[in-house]
Symmetry: C2
Subunit: 565 residues, 2 copies
Amino acid sequence: MTVLGTAETFKRDWVDGFVTAYGREVRKVPDAYGVVATDVPKRGKVAVVIGGGCGHYPAFAGLVGHGLADGAVVGDVFTSPSAEQVHRTAREADGGAGVLFGYGNYQGDVLHFGLAARRLAAEGIDSRTILVTDDVASGPSEDPASRRGVAGDFFVFKVAGAAAERGDDLDGVHAAAVKANARTRTFGAAFGGCTLPGAAEPLFTVSDTDMELGLGIHGEPGVRTVGRLAATELADELVDGLLPELPSGDGRVAVLLNGLGRTKYEEMFVAYKRIHERLTAAGLDPVHIEVGEFVTSLDMAGVSLSAMVLDDELAALYAAPCSSPGYRSDGRPAAPVRPSVTVDDTLATPQHAGESTVDRALTAALRLIEANEDELGRLDAVAADGDHGLGMTRGMRAAVTAARRCTGPAEQLLAAGTAFADAAGGASGALYGVLLAETGAGLRGEITAETLADAVDNAAAAFTTLGKARPGDKTMLDAIEPFRTTLRAAVHGSAGRSDTGADIADAWRKAAQAATVAAQETADLVPGKGRAARLAERSKGHADPGATSFALLVTAVGDVLGGQN
Amino acid sequence: MTVLGTAETFKRDWVDGFVTAYGREVRKVPDAYGVVATDVPKRGKVAVVIGGGCGHYPAFAGLVGHGLADGAVVGDVFTSPSAEQVHRTAREADGGAGVLFGYGNYQGDVLHFGLAARRLAAEGIDSRTILVTDDVASGPSEDPASRRGVAGDFFVFKVAGAAAERGDDLDGVHAAAVKANARTRTFGAAFGGCTLPGAAEPLFTVSDTDMELGLGIHGEPGVRTVGRLAATELADELVDGLLPELPSGDGRVAVLLNGLGRTKYEEMFVAYKRIHERLTAAGLDPVHIEVGEFVTSLDMAGVSLSAMVLDDELAALYAAPCSSPGYRSDGRPAAPVRPSVTVDDTLATPQHAGESTVDRALTAALRLIEANEDELGRLDAVAADGDHGLGMTRGMRAAVTAARRCTGPAEQLLAAGTAFADAAGGASGALYGVLLAETGAGLRGEITAETLADAVDNAAAAFTTLGKARPGDKTMLDAIEPFRTTLRAAVHGSAGRSDTGADIADAWRKAAQAATVAAQETADLVPGKGRAARLAERSKGHADPGATSFALLVTAVGDVLGGQN
C-alpha cells in the first residue's frame, strides 16, 4: 500500500523535493513539470531531453546531469507528460544545437513528444527522436517498432548523453542513440504488483505462487506465467529470453540487472551469479556490469535483465564519466573477475552417526534442533529477528562436521564450539560456541559424573562472563543454571556409589528435565507478530529462545548417554 | 514473500554475484565471507573494516572502495559475522597501519568483532573500534551506548574512510569516526515488514492502517504506533523525533533520507520536500543531502531520517570524493536551492457553476466524471495502468478552470482542450484535448443544430487522424462514431422545423444515449486483476475506458442543454 503522497499533488511534490535535495545538479523548469541540469543551456551542445511518466526513479529525472541527460520531462505516475510540458522543458534545455528526445515507445509519449517536436520546429528549434524499444516481451522481433521501452532506456540515454557531451552534432548524437537502441534488449519478470500513489488497492497483483515473465513496467500483462522460481531458475529464464534476441557482435556486452522496486539487492546478486555464468558460457564478455535500481516501477517486485551489444564506440560512450543524482560513473569500465572459490561453509548434513559418544550426542542434538527449527524461529521472531532456528541448525551441522575431524571428547568439543560460533554467527553463536568449547576444556582427563559437573560449571561461568546475563533475566542462562545445579546435586546424590555411566546418564537427564521446565517458563509464548504482542512479550522478558534450544540440546545428549539414541 | 535465494546458501551466493558484478572494485577474501577493495592492502594506510549481518545492501559490502571502506565482513541475514570471518577479512585488509573496525552497536557484532580484535592484537595488529549508536529510538539520550546503529552507519563510515584516505594514523581515523558518530542521529518509521530469504512468512508485519515509529532495521519493535500518515505528517514526525536529539553546531548538517527497501523513491522526495522546509525553519543549513537507499532492511517498507552536525573537518571528510559500488561522489558538496515556485497545476475545484452554457456543460461533465472516477480507474486497470479516472478528473478540472478565463464557446472550448491535454497527460489526455478544441473550432459563428453537428464531425475526424483508431477497434472511437452519426441523423430529422435550443438538446441527448449504449458494450467488464483476466479482456479488446468517459461527458452536456442542470 502506498503511504506517502496523494495522487493529485504527487508529481509536483516529489519534483520539488528532488530539486531541493539535488539542487547542486538540477533545477526545475519554470512553470513546468520538468528538470534541467543547473548549467544548461550549454551553448552549442546538443540537448538530450528524456522523459515519460513518473514512478520509475531514477528514470527519468534522476538521470539529468553531467554526461547524461540535459533535461527530463515528468509526467504523472505511469502517464506521459503533456506536449506543453515537453515543449517548455526542451526550450529550457536547448543550447542552439538542437534537441535529442529520448523516451520509451508508448503511445502517449509518442503523441505528446511528437506534438512538442512539431511546435519546436515551428519555432526554428531542430530536434530528433529516439524511441527506445528494448522489451523483447512486448512485440515480435520482426516488428521492433511494436516493442516498449523499459530498462534499456538507461543504456540509450547514457550513450546519447556521452555523445552529446563529447560534442557530436544532432545527427551524430541521434545516430549513436539509434545504434545503442538497435543493440539493446531486455527481458524481465515480476513477482508482485505495485500500488499507485493514493490508490487504495494494488494496480495489479501476481499470485504468491507465480512469477510473470515479460511483464511491463506499468503492469502490462506478461507473456507467460510460471511458478515461483529459485534464483538460478529465474536467471536461466531471463538469459534464455534474452540470448536469442541479442544481435551479433564481437562478444562484448554491457549488462544491467535492474530491480523494479521491492526486490532485495542481495537477491539480485544471487541471480546475477548465475546470469554471469550463463552469459560467459554463451561466449559473451560482460565488460560493464551494473546491478541495482535504474528504471523502477514504484514498489513492484521483480527484475529485468538488459544487455547492450558493444562495439568500440558504444563501449567508450557507455563507459564515459557522468554524474547525476541517480547514476554516477568515474569512467572506469568494469573488469569483472570470476567468482572466488566459495567457502566450505560446512553445511553438509552428516552422512551417518559418528562413533564416539560426543559424535552421537552432537548428532542427536542436531536432529532435535532440526526438528524444532521452525518453532525456534517463531519464538525468536517474538522480539528479535526470527533466525535463531536457522542459526542453531547451521551451527550444529558445523559442530557435528568439525567434531568428526578430531578424536577425544575435549578436542571434539573444542572444535565443535569454534565451528558452531563460526557457522551460526550472532550472539547466540558465540555463546553456544563458548558452552561447547569450555565444556570440552573440562573433559581432558577421565570422565566421571564429578568431572562432568565441573566441566558444566566451568562452561556456565564462561558463558555468564561473556554474555553478561544474570539469573532472572529470562535468558538462556535461566535454563543453564537449573541444569548446572541439578546436575551437581544429582552427582552428589550418587556420591559413594560406583560412578558408572548409568549414574552419569541419570544425573544428566535429571538436569535436562530441570532445564526443560525452566525453558518452558521462558518460552511459553503466543507467537504474536504485531508490535503489541511483541512488546508485551519483550516486557515479560520472553525474548530469548536460547533457553529452549539449550534444553533441546541437553535433552538429546541425555538420551544418548542413557543409550536411547 | 522472498523469491530468490535459499537461507543456507544465500550469503555465499550473493557475495559471489557481488564480487563478479563489481570485480573492478572489490574482491572476495579467500575462504571467508568478506570483501576487500581490489587494491588492498595499501601499505601504510589505516584499513577501515566494516561489517554486520547482510540484508542491508549497499551497507556493508557495497561501501567498499576508494575513499570509503577497505573491507567489509558479511554475516548471515541480520546476523553478526563470526570472529573468524572478521579476523580473516581484517588480516587481508591490513596495510601495516592498523585497522579501524566500524559497525552498529549490536551484541553479536560487539562479541565477534571484539574477539577478532583480541586475536589481531595477539598477532601484533593494532585496531580501534567505532560502535555506531545513531538510532535515537533505541535508547535514552542519557545512555547513548544503549543505542543501536542504523542509517547513521553511512555517515560514520564515509568520514572514517575519508580520514584514512587522506593519511590519518589509526588514532586520527578513530577520532574522526568518534566525532562523526557523536554528531549523528537517526529516527525512522516503518509501514511494512520484511521477509527473510527462504522464509515462508514475514519476519514481522505492520498493520495496513499503522506506521511504527522508531522500528529497528531488523524489525526490533518501535517506540510508538500511529495511524498511516500523509507525507508531510510523516516528515513532521521524523523531524520532531530528530531535532531535540541533535547536538548543537554552527547549523550546517548533512542529511540522509534513507529508504528501507520497498518505499518508492518519488515518495521519499515528497517527504523530503517537507523535511527540508522544517529543517531550514529550525535554523539548520542542509549543505549535503542524499535521498536514496543506503542502509536497507531487505524489503521493509519505511524510511529513516539521519542528520550529522557538521564542522569544517566533518564537512570536508564527508564531501571528499569516493567510489564504491553502492555510493560514488565526485566530491562536490551539495548546494541545495529552495524549491522553485510550484506550478499552478489548476487542480482547484471550481467554486461555483459558471455562467455560459459551455461553463455549465463542462462543470456538469466534471461532476459526472468525478462521481465515476473510481469506476473508470477499475475499467482502465483491466488492461492498462488504472489511472484513467484520475486523469479524466484532473483534465476536466483544468478544462473548467481554463474555460472560466475566456469568453465565447469557441475560445472557451479551445482553452479547455489545451488545458485538459496539459493536465491529464497521456494518450487520452491528448485525444480528449483534441475533441474539445476541435469542437470549439467549429463553433465560431452562430450555433445551430447543423453547425454543432458539423463541429462534432470535425472533432471526430481530427480524433481519428491523431488516434489512429478504426471503428471496431473497441476504443473511444466506437462511442464517438454512434454519437456523431446519431447526432447528424437527429439534426436532419429536425430539418425544416425551427432550429431551437430544444431541437439541439433533443438531438444531442439522442446521440448521447447512442454513445452510452456503445460504451456499455466495450465496458462490460469483470474488473479482474490477475494476468489471465487481464489478457482475456485485452484479447476481447475491452481495454479502453475512454468510451465510457466519453459517454459520461456527452450525457452531462446533454442534461445541461436540456436545462436539467
